[in-house]
């Protein structure tokens, strides 16, 4: 029994990291109705630059943190301009342009959605290679903030640094939810997400609002990257793919676009993975991740996907 609880606890902690990773991705979808495939690569490039500065210039850990978060936002600006800003984001536009999404209920893609996807994929490739060229070795040092001790209580053990990451995930989720649901700015984000034209009509500067939301999401990716890497003390070229995959699964489990959802989704993912690993080994754990994702997708009622998915009327919180 104790083993079960310990595993659940470990899974929950790991899952909190997944949630942190997925926050920016789900926020992007919640506000722009777009999946940013370059998400992981953005954070990866920023983290690699941070690692480079750490190794070659002796930048202290807090400096690296600032660089990673700030640079992620900056790279996000580049990605946004190239992929999402100019091409236009989702949410229905009035039909006289001919392509309102009014008729696309279940399956067909709105043309711009697919293009943004392809475009962000292209930038993913670009950013990832830039990162890897910066530090060609497979394993590179990253500021190590891992805790040296473990806290014990009632026979269970947990590391304070991982608890800190979990607390961070929770905090950011609460802060974002508060922003989205209880402030004028957040209202603008949510309004612009599903009805651009009307948002413009009530005086919301849609372009600005969505660019800002995107930058915040990318900055969050930097926060997540720093948090996760500083607990490992090292960085590898797998980071980009890892962040995108884990973040996407956590977000989809909770309902893509929902900030509270990604927290729950991440927790679920972490806990399921922990138990799957114990039962089926590393390969089984990987399989369980995707099986869980697939089951949640297929078992959700039509139009509503994920734990907190509210179908087409999903709002970002």
């Amino acid at each position: 029994m104790l083993e079960f609880l310990q595993r659940t606890l470990d899974g929950w902690l790991e899952g909190s990291a997944y949630a942190l990773v997925g926050l920016g991705l789900t926020l992007t979808f919640g506000t722009l109705r777009r999946l940013n495939l370059a998400y992981g690569a953005t954070a990866m490039l920023a983290a690699y630059v941070g690692a480079w500065l750490y190794a070659r210039q002796g930048l202290p850990a807090w400096g690296v943190a600032l660089v990673v978060v700030g640079l992620a936002a900056l790279i996000g600006l580049y990605v946004e301009r190239l992929c999402f800003g100019a091409i236009g984001s989702g949410g229905s536009t009035q039909g006289h342009e001919g392509r309102g999404s009014a008729t696309r209920v279940g399956g067909g893609f709105d043309g711009t959605e697919v293009v943004a996807l392809a475009s962000s994929f292209a930038l993913w490739m670009q950013l990832e290679q830039l990162a890897v060229n910066l530090l060609p070795r497979h394993l590179n040092a990253f500021p190590d903030l891992a805790a040296r001790t473990e806290w014990g209580f009632f026979g269970l053990y947990l590391r304070p640094d991982r608890l800190a990451v979990a607390a961070l995930a929770l905090l950011i989720t609460l802060a974002l939810t508060r922003w989205l649901m209880h402030t004028r700015g957040g209202l603008a984000w949510r309004a612009a997400a599903t009805q651009r034209t009307a948002a413009g009509l009530v005086g919301i500067r849609v372009g600005q609002v969505q660019a800002t939301a995107f930058l915040v999401a990318c900055a969050l990716s930097g926060v997540a990257a720093f948090a996760v890497l500083s607990l490992e003390g090292q960085i590898t070229p797998m980071l980009g793919m890892w962040m995108l995959t884990k973040g996407l699964v956590a977000a989809m489990l909770g309902g893509l676009g929902s900030v509270r959802g990604v927290l729950l989704g991440g927790w679920l993912l972490g806990i399921v993975e922990a138990h799957a690993q114990a039962a089926f080994g590393a390969v089984g754990r990987e399989f369980a991740t995707y099986a869980l994702l697939f089951l949640v997708l297929v078992a959700s009622p039509a139009g509503r996907s994920g734990l907190l998915g509210r179908g087409g009327l999903r709002h970002a919180a």
């Binding site: 009035q94 004028r184 009805q195 034209t197 009509l201 005086g203 709002h315």
Partner: protein, 238 residues
């Protein structure tokens, strides 16, 4: 109040507005009639600042609106109730109204205005915390009007508020238009329902193929010939 001269808007190579001239007087209900595809919605969207014209001018109380963003135009006292209502589906009724007041900063007055909207539109009050996307067509239309009113516009633009609604609801909408008019709100109305429009408007324009082809009073509009053209875009065989 609103003076439009030589307005031309195009979608790529398609010229939707080919030089529109009209004026809207303050304190009146002005109605724009015309067949489908005449460019009425394009005109509304251009005035609201969503579409950018390639030529012409729009003067609102003396100030030029062309070149201004839709946010600025709302701030200057114009609000559009768009075709197809375009409520924010994922926001509640209350949030839709709050969004309508987005350009305003006077929190207490906004709250009072929301309460006043619920008095004017009691059905919205029943659904205050419901997602707007789940409302019926008529309720969404009420919401769209209320949302536009939240910005306390001096000129209210309405694009086909009665389309797709049941006759009873249509009557309600026009009753609200009459009410607003009696309260002093200036209204610029686009309609297909010429018969109802004749009962509320004081000035009419007819638009065909991107141009204004007729202007006049309700009496002048009543001549069958003109209404035929408004409905069908064709002259009746002489």
């Amino acid at each position: 109040m609103l003076q439009i001269e030589g307005l031309a808007t195009a979608y790529g190579k398609i010229e939707a507005l080919k030089g529109v001239d009209l004026s809207v007087q303050g304190g009146q209900v002005t109605c724009l009639l015309g067949p489908n595809g005449a460019g009425k919605t394009t005109l509304m969207m251009t005035v609201a600042g969503i579409l950018k014209p390639k030529a012409g001018s729009i003067r609102f109380e003396g100030e030029e609106l062309v070149g201004k963003s839709s946010a600025d135009i709302v701030a200057r006292g114009l609000a559009l109730v768009p075709e197809n209502r375009l409520v924010f589906p994922a926001l509640t009724v209350r949030e839709n109204l709050q969004a309508g007041a987005f350009r305003r900063r006077d929190r207490n007055a906004i709250r009072d205005d929301i309460d006043r909207m619920f008095v004017r539109f009691p059905r919205l009050k029943e659904r205050v915390d419901q997602m707007a996307g789940t409302l019926s067509g008529g309720e969404q239309q009420m919401l769209a009007v209320a949302r536009a009113l939240m910005s306390r516009p001096r000129l209210l633009l309405m694009d086909e508020p009665s389309v797709g609604l049941a006759p009873l609801v249509v009557a309600e909408i026009f009753q609200i238009i009459r009410q607003l008019h009696s309260e002093g709100v200036s209204i610029f109305l686009v309609e297909q329902n010429a018969h109802m429009a004749l009962k509320v408007a004081q000035q009419f324009y007819l638009m065909e193929q991107g141009r204004v082809t007729f202007s006049g009073t309700p009496g002048e509009m009543s001549s069958d010939d003109v209404i035929q053209r408004a409905y069908l875009g064709q002259r009746r065989a002489a």
